[in-house]
Symmetry: C2
Subunit: 158 residues, 2 copies
Amino acid sequence: MKLDPSWVSGFVDGEGTFYVGINKNETMKIGFQVLPEFRVVQHQRDIKVLYALKEFFGVGVVRINHDTRYELRIRSLEHLNTKVIPHFNKFPLMTQKKFDFIKFTEIIDLMNQNKHLEVDGIKEIILIATKMNRQEKFKTLDNVKNLDLDQEQDRVHT
Amino acid sequence: MKLDPSWVSGFVDGEGTFYVGINKNETMKIGFQVLPEFRVVQHQRDIKVLYALKEFFGVGVVRINHDTRYELRIRSLEHLNTKVIPHFNKFPLMTQKKFDFIKFTEIIDLMNQNKHLEVDGIKEIILIATKMNRQEKFKTLDNVKNLDLDQEQDRVHT
C-alpha cells in the first residue's frame, strides 16, 4: 500500500498525536527525562495502514497500544528530525493539531541544542509541553510537581 | 484554507462517515425512507476545516452535531453522485472505511434506479446497510424489524 504524502497529512490531522512526555527519571542528572513521540493509533483492523505509514516514513515501530488497538510510534530524535518534521513542514496539517506540531518542533529544536539536560531548558520545554494536547496536560504537570517552575533559586547546575 | 484532494481523503479516512439511515416513514408508500449521508464531525475548534471541506466539495451544510461538536453533512443524492463519490473514486480511501464507501456507492446506485421505492430494492439496500458502520447496525435493524427480510410471501407490491 503506497501512500500519497498529502493523504498522510490528512490522516494524521485526524488520527495522529504529537506528544512530549516529561517523566521523572532519577538516573538522569536533571531528574527528568523528555520523551517526544509521534504516534498514530488504529484498531487492529487497520494495522496495514500503520505498516504503510512506517514504510512511508521509513522509520518507526508498529506495536500494540492497548486491547485491540495498535500504534505506529516514532521516538528517535534523529528520526523525528529527519523524517517526521520535514514531512509536516512540506505537507502542512490543516487542523488545530498544527499548533501541537509547532510546539513539538520547538521542543525538538531545544533538544537538538541539549537544552533538556539543563534546568532552564527543561523548564522551557515543560512550559511548552503543558500547552500541547490539553487532555494530557495534567499528567505532565503532575510528573514535574517537584520542579518549581517559578522559583529561580531552585536552579540546579548540571 | 485550500485543501489538497489527497489530504481530504486522508482526513476522511480518519474522521469521515458514510452512513445510510433506514427510517420508518408512514408517509412513504413503502413505509421506509432511505437516507444516505456523508459527514465529517469536528470539535468546534476546527469548524474552519469543515467550512474548507464544504468549499472543497462545493456542497453540504455545516451545522451543530451535539454539544461542542459540528458537522459537515452532505445528503442530497445529486451532490453525493456528482461531488462526493467521484472524489473518493479518484482519491481512494486507504483504511477499512473504503469498504463502507463501496457499500455506500452500491446503495446510491440502487437509489439512482429508484430501487428504494420497491420492496425488493429496499430489502437489498437494508442488507447492504447492515454491513456498514458496525456500531450503527443494530439501530438500522431495529428500525426495520417489521419488514421481514426472509419471508418472500410478505412482499408488498407498490
